[in-house]
C-alpha cells in the first residue's frame, strides 16, 4: 500500500501518501522518454525538376521565370521577360559572410506581386547547402513553384 492511513480520535481519516515510490516511477518514465525522444526534426523543402532543353515539360518557358544560377562568386540572376529590370542587378556577388541571400530576398519582396515560378541551378563545385539556401529564399519571398535545373 502506498500510503499510511490513520484514523483520528474524531473519526476522520488522515492519509499520509508515500511519495518516494511515486518519484521512482516518474524518474523511470522520464529516463525512458528521454532515451526514446527524437530531438532532430526533419523537414522537407519541395522542388520540382526542370530541364533547360527545349520541349521539356515545364509550366513556363525559361524566359518567363526567374532563373538563379549559383557560381563560386555569387548569384547570377536572369529576370523574367516583361519585368522592369532597370534597377534589378543581374549579379549579386558574395560578401565576407557568403552569398547575399538577404539582399536577394529584399529584391524579391520589392516586387508588387510574387513571381509565379523560379528555377535554381549551380556550378558543380558549389556546396549543396547554398543551393538549398537559395531555394529557401525563393520560397520565403512567396514564389510558389521552385524548380531545380539539373542539365
Amino acid at each position: 500500500m502506498a500510503g499510511v492511513v490513520e484514523e483520528q480520535k474524531n473519526g476522520n481519516l488522515n492519509v499520509d501518501l508515500n511519495l518516494v515510490p511515486f518519484i521512482d516511477l516518474l524518474s523511470m518514465l522520464v529516463l525512458f522518454l528521454l532515451i526514446t525522444a527524437v530531438w532532430l526534426q526533419v523537414a522537407a523543402l519541395p522542388a520540382s525538376l526542370d530541364s533547360n532543353k527545349a520541349g521539356a515539360l515545364t509550366q513556363l518557358k525559361q524566359s518567363q521565370k526567374l532563373n538563379i544560377h549559383l557560381t563560386n562568386h555569387g548569384y547570377a540572376l536572369s529576370w523574367p521577360d516583361g519585368m522592369k529590370t532597370k534597377n534589378l542587378p543581374k549579379y549579386l556577388a558574395k560578401n565576407n559572410q557568403g552569398y547575399n541571400k538577404d539582399i536577394l530576398l529584399k529584391l524579391l519582396k520589392k516586387n508588387p506581386a510574387p513571381l509565379p515560378s523560379a528555377s535554381v541551378s549551380a556550378e558543380d563545385l558549389v556546396d549543396y547547402g547554398y543551393v538549398v539556401e537559395a531555394i529557401d529564399v525563393l520560397k520565403e519571398s512567396g514564389i510558389p513553384l521552385v524548380a531545380l535545373t539539373a542539365d
Binding site: V20, L26, T36, V42, A43, D124, V126, Y128, I135, A150
Partner: protein, 134 residues
Amino acid sequence: MVSLSLTAMVDMFAIMVIFLLANATTVTQWIEIGHGIQLPKAKASDPPPKAASIHVSKDMVFANNKPLLPVKQVLQSGIVLPALSTWLLKQAKQAGYINIVAHENTPYGIIRRIVFTCQQAGFKNVNLAVQPRG
C-alpha cells in the same frame, strides 16, 4: 538534519513527463539521418512524405540506407548514374516523389547527377531534407 520537499520534485517530474509525452507523439521520424550527414538549414516546416530516399554522405550515396555508389565514382561518371537508375526503376512512384537527404557540404555536381537520374527515371518532384530553422 535537512528535510527534503518531495512535493516540489514530484511536480517537476510530472511536468517533464508531460512535456516528453507531448513531444514524442508529435514527431514521426522514419528518415534515419545517420552516416554523418549534417542537413542544411531552411525555414521549411512540413515533414517529408513517406517515399524512397537517397542519402548522400561525404563518401557514399545510399539508396534507402543501403550503400549504392561511392561519391568519387559519381563525380567521375556522366550525368546519368546507371546503378541509381536501376534502383529507381524498381521503386514505387508515390506521386513521383523522391526524398534527398544530403550533407550540406556535398558538391552540387553530385546532387545534379542524382536529380537528373531521378528525372530520367520518371520522378518529377524531389523533397530536399532540411533541418528547420527558427
